[in-house]
Subunit: 208 residues, 2 copies
């Protein structure tokens, strides 16, 4: 039975986005080309132009799809969930070319004439949701503004991953995130909550 | 009297660096060209190639000259000096195309195939010096490591200016720096010191 048209279009779009992210990750924006991406995705010129009219639009779409490239850990709650998110994202940046490309494009967007903070705002919104949960659990200091702190955290994480990427190709990113939390937690949470938090990467040793 | 050769070479190199920074600021790395930079600097092809053999080397030199593009405020001491530095740098990013280009190249260096953290390390070293002074003045909490905090601050500042540049072309950068300090100071300094610090841009109203 033939695949319904709408479904096929959605699948093709996702294929193209993945291929584009891989090519941008390998070659950067200026080194990537529409034809390279078409070949990687295995789509025709018609299929490509139906979804994306230019390399710039492709880059914008990859840039704005950051959260769709990741599986989020479902366990944890409140502040622990925010901390786990930062370590999870650090691990994804080390191992997942799609999220790496997406974040790289967001950082280097000036180079292709774009100024769009959607990617940053999406992370701020996600962190803010987790922080509102932390607030309800009584984990935040009274003077903390959830939105403001989310902006500070997303900024600090962005700079940390950038510095780490030039210093060590992100090998030292987890230890930089440990440091970040060491200096952010005292202004965020009371000492008794702080003592109960796990500020380290989740154990990824596969069960034997 | 003719200018001594050595002096002229130094002056030409500085001229070229300024012109390159201006052109990179306006056009980004891929939009800039050696000939455009030569014209702007008013140097011959021979003069250019004596100092810089390629656009990439020029970009590296601009990227590593960040601190030479700024006049640093000389007043202030210890922790206040660190805070003042961040607001001063925010103001420079808003108004000085040389530092803007230099930082932009450091951020977008992946786009031209470079991985060099000198620019970041220079800022870490400067902040660490100020923090060691703050330590001697008794302004830091005992558990603070001056180098670690300098890394965190440089990272957080980098991410803040990047987020601000896409959100508001850096118009809101000073208020983001205020937020950053709000959440960093509790982990850095005791309450009595915190109360004595001025966490806002210096007054730039010209005397009348």
């Amino acid at each position: 039975m033939a695949e319904p048209k709408q479904e096929r279009a959605t699948r093709t779009r996702a294929l193209i986005l993945r291929a584009a992210a891989e090519v941008f990750d390998e070659s950067g924006y200026s080194g990537a080309s529409i034809s390279k991406i078409m070949n990687r995705a295995g789509v025709t010129q018609g299929g490509m132009y139906f979804h994306f009219k230019s390399k710039k639009r492709l880059a914008l779409a990859v840039m704005s799809s950051q959260q769709t490239f990741i599986d989020f850990p479902s366990e944890g709650a409140g502040l622990q969930r925010v901390i786990d998110l930062t370590f999870h994202l650090a691990h994804e940046l080390q191992t997942n070319p799609l999220i790496r490309a997406s974040i790289r494009l967001a950082v280097e967007q000036g180079e292709f004439g774009v100024r769009d903070d959607t990617a940053y705002q999406d992370w701020v919104a996600l962190v803010e949701t987790y922080l509102l949960e932390a607030r309800q659990r009584g984990e935040l200091l009274p003077e903390v503004d959830e939105h403001d702190f989310a902006v500070v955290l997303v900024s600090a994480f962005t700079g940390s991953q950038l510095f780490s990427s030039v210093a060590s190709a992100r090998a030292d990113l987890p230890s930089r995130i440990v440091l970040l939390w060491r200096y952010l937690l005292p202004g965020l949470t009371p000492p008794r909550t702080r003592a109960s938090l796990r500020v380290e990467p989740a154990d990824r040793t596969p069960a034997t």
